[in-house]
Structure formats: C-alpha cells, structure tokens
Symmetry: C2
Subunit: 274 residues, 2 copies
C-alpha cells in the first residue's frame, strides 16, 4: 500500500509510540510505505519536532550500517508536577486513613491511565541508565512496574512473599522489615531475571526501606546491578532509612491519626535534574 505523507505521519507516530526504546531501521519504514528514505527522514523530522515540542519524547537517529531511529519517551516535567500535585491533594483526603496509620491507595493504583502517566515519569528519569529489567514486589507494585517497563521496553520480575509451586526453582532471601523489625522472606523465580542485568526497582510504598533493601540484596544474588530505585510514595521515617539512593513521586510527610490529618507533598524526583 502506497502512503501519502499525511498517512505516513499518522502510521509512523503510532508505530514509534508502540515501540519505545527499540531501534527501527529506516529501511523498515521505506518498505512499509514504499517511499524513498529521503521522504522518510523528512517525516521522522516532523514527528520528532512535534513530540519534542510536547515533551513526550524524542526520535533519535543513529547512523551507520545499523542506522535507524529510536523513540525515547519523556515527560513534560511541568505537566508531571501538576499531575503529582493533584495526586497529593487526593491522597490528603482523611477518608483514606486506615487503622494503623495506613492509607487506602487502591483507587490510585487501580487506575491504569494514571499508573501509565506515573510510570512514564520514572521511565523518563532513568531513560539513559541502560536498564535491562524492572523488579517489583507483589501485589501493589506491579501496575506501576509494568508501566515503567513498557515505556523502557524491558521485562518485569515479580518478587513475592510466598513461595509458589508454579514457578520452578526459586531464589529466596531473608530480610528485616525496617518498620516492624521482623524477619521475612522474599522469593524470585530463578528463570525470571537474567544474570548480569541492570535492574530498576519499582515499588508502591517505602517507609524504612527494608523491602527495597531486600530487593537490592536479591538483585545481587542474580549477579546483577541496581540501576535505580523508584517508589510511588515514601513515608517519613523517624530513624534513618535503610536505603539512601532512591527517587519518589510523592512523600507522605505527616499522618495524624487522632485528628485525621494527612500531609502529602511532591517526592524527591522533582528536586533532581532530569
């Protein structure tokens, strides 16, 4: 099928958006549209210009025999700050307070459009860090982790508290829960993370950082490295956190159970260079 420029632009845009962080040879597009490479290059220039002006990402060109283009998703940090400020307002609703000072957050985590936007912030932040895999803890970290991984085009490894029979050989480690000071176990299927991976750890909540610390140790058990740590919400913890190098989208700075007051602010990712 022969395409005019207008048709090529629509299809190219959808194709690039659906294949982030993947090198696409120019010949792929020139064959798909039966068009000269020079026309394709011009088209890609237009797509790049518009996506960049919207701060949605960039179409990067690599020269040489393996030449082609790669779409790298980013976020408009102003829009992200606005999204996070709205999220902070939502989280401050006193109806969220649960016994024990926990917050009800399943409506946030259960909103796929929102988790996609939130995951995009981490994917943009870690876009130059050669991430090979995303690791998360079941259950509530999974949606955000998948969003980050989809934008980075890497697989997800799901760590669990239980040891499931349906996953074959498993690597388990003990770790100390930072807030409760109890010894717990976490497991990951041997097959679900390739050795020598550079792993981005994503989770929904961090207080003392015991679970994150455990996942960092688990990464080592797979002869792998930690590319970074990102959490949806960090809570203020009286003592020193067990993890120091992490990024957060929101920060639960104060919970007053008695007076039903919750204070949530932007996380530290907005104080760092992106």
């Amino acid at each position: 099928m022969k395409y005019r420029r207008s048709g090529r632009l629509v299809d190219m845009t959808q194709y690039l958006l659906a294949h982030p962080h993947q090198l696409i040879p120019l010949t792929f597009f020139s064959e798909r549209y039966q068009s000269a490479k020079s026309s394709i290059s011009e088209d890609l220039g237009i797509v790049n210009e518009i996506l960049r002006s919207r701060r949605l990402g960039s179409v990067e060109t690599s020269a040489g025999a393996s030449g082609g283009v790669t779409f790298i998703p980013t976020v408009d940090m102003k829009a992200a700050e606005h999204l996070i400020d709205e999220l902070c307002d939502k989280l401050e609703d006193p109806d969220r307070l649960l016994p024990g000072g926990y917050l009800y957050m399943m409506d946030i985590i259960g909103d796929p459009a929102l988790t996609q936007e939130l995951g995009r912030i981490f994917a943009s932040y870690y876009r130059r860090d050669k991430v090979d895999a995303v690791m998360t803890m079941a259950t509530k970290g999974i949606p955000l982790a998948y969003s980050v991984a989809a934008h980075l085009h890497v697989p997800v490894s799901i760590v669990r508290h239980e040891q499931r029979i349906t996953e074959g050989s498993i690597v388990s480690i003990n770790y100390v829960s930072g807030s409760k000071k109890t010894i717990q176990t976490m497991s990951l299927a041997r097959r679900s993370l390739k050795p020598h991976s550079n792993v981005l750890i994503i989770d929904d909540f961090m207080k003392a950082g015991g679970t994150i610390r455990g996942m960092k140790d688990l990464v080592q058990e797979f002869q792998s490295t930690v590319a970074g740590v990102g959490v949806l919400t960090e809570a203020v913890h009286e003592e020193e956190k067990l993890v120091s190098d992490y990024t957060s989208l929101t920060k639960l700075s104060h919970v007053d159970v008695k007076n039903k007051k919750i204070q949530v602010e932007r996380g530290n990712i907005f104080q760092q260079n992106t």
Copy 2:
C-alpha cells in the same frame, strides 16, 4: 502554538492513542491547534482512515451538543492469530514443565509489550459491551488485566487470597477450588469496585473454573453484573467446567508429564465473531 496539518496529524494521533474510549470534543482540538473545526474534521478523517486500514481501531464521531470523537482500539485478527500461534509454540517448550503438570509462564506474563498486545485482543472483543471495570486475581492475572483496562479506559479491581490490613473494609467469599476441591477464601476491598458496575473478569489461567466462578459470585456481592470472562490460557479439564461463558486466547489441550510433551492451541476467542 499554531500547527500545520502535518503537525496536527502527529499530535492528534498520539493524543487519541493515549485516550482510548474517551469522548474528545472537536473544540478541544480546534483550540489546541488554533484551527477551524472543518480542518480538524478533515484531519480526523485521515487519522481514522489510517488506523482503520491498519485495523488498530477507529475514530468514531458523535454528533450533537456533546459532539466529538472517540478512539476505539481494535486488533488486526490475522496479526493476533499470528501472535497467538507464536505464543503457542513458545508454550510447547518442554522446559516449561514444572512438578505437578504446571507450566512456567512468568516470561510471558513478565513481558509488558506482549501483555499489551494480548490485552488489546480482549479490549477489542469486549469493546461494545459497556464494561465499567476489570476484575482480576492477584498475582499473575494483574498484568493482562491492566492492559485490557488501559485499552478500555476503566479501573481494575484486584481480588486476593489473603486479607490485607491496608485496604479497609473487605468483602470476602468462600469458594471451592474446582481442581483441588478445597474451600478457599477470596477478598476484595469494599471501596475498590463501585456497585452496579458491569465487570469484565480477566485471569491468566483457568482449569476447572473455580476461581473464575468465585469472582463471578464476588461481582454479585457488589450488586454488579459480569460483562464477560477472558483468560490467557484454559486447560483441558476432565470434568465439566464450572464456567461456560468465557473467552480464551490459548488452550492447553494436552500435558504429558512422563514424555515431556505439551500441546497448546488457539483459544476459543478465535472461533467467535469479533
């Protein structure tokens, strides 16, 4: 910022793809691009033509005061069949066999690009069924459920075996596991599903159908209706299944543990009208 047609087409495409199943007024686009509605309508015609020709979806126009356009994602069924045939081949790898006749599937479930494509098949199939929410069972149903929900633009309710303290009031039901014939409990946070919803149940695996049957009962506890049931893999079960009305992407038709032979074929969704 004033846009030329080429720029409008790129931005409109990305915007529509990012907002499936959402009515977008024409005035939104005419203000965004400072262009006349007649130009916007022409642009939308081009986007619609290309997305339809690729069978990626359609841009549907609704007239009247609330007039606008809605992007409805679909799949190219030929491409979907090809994807599923490849998946069946992968699943037939004897190395997947685990003790008890289970199959290792975390690499499939852990691939975000693949789960997005698989979820799109269900989202396309149930696109006219006025789905209000997707329900799934932790842990392995979650990735597929989020993909379906993202394409349909509805929230996800995650049912669990445990009863977690961090979710407030919970609705629990007992159900009989179809294959093991044991009584088990599943729970869903009261707040995580609105009453009178039309719920699409999505899970990774179904054998006798006990878990799905349990989720159907749970939907009733929320005064809600079941829009449909979709599973990634159904296994052949010697006795009658506890659920009859479901769609599957793949069918595990034979497992011979002794000779390490697995047979997987296309699921029943490919035998139905879409």
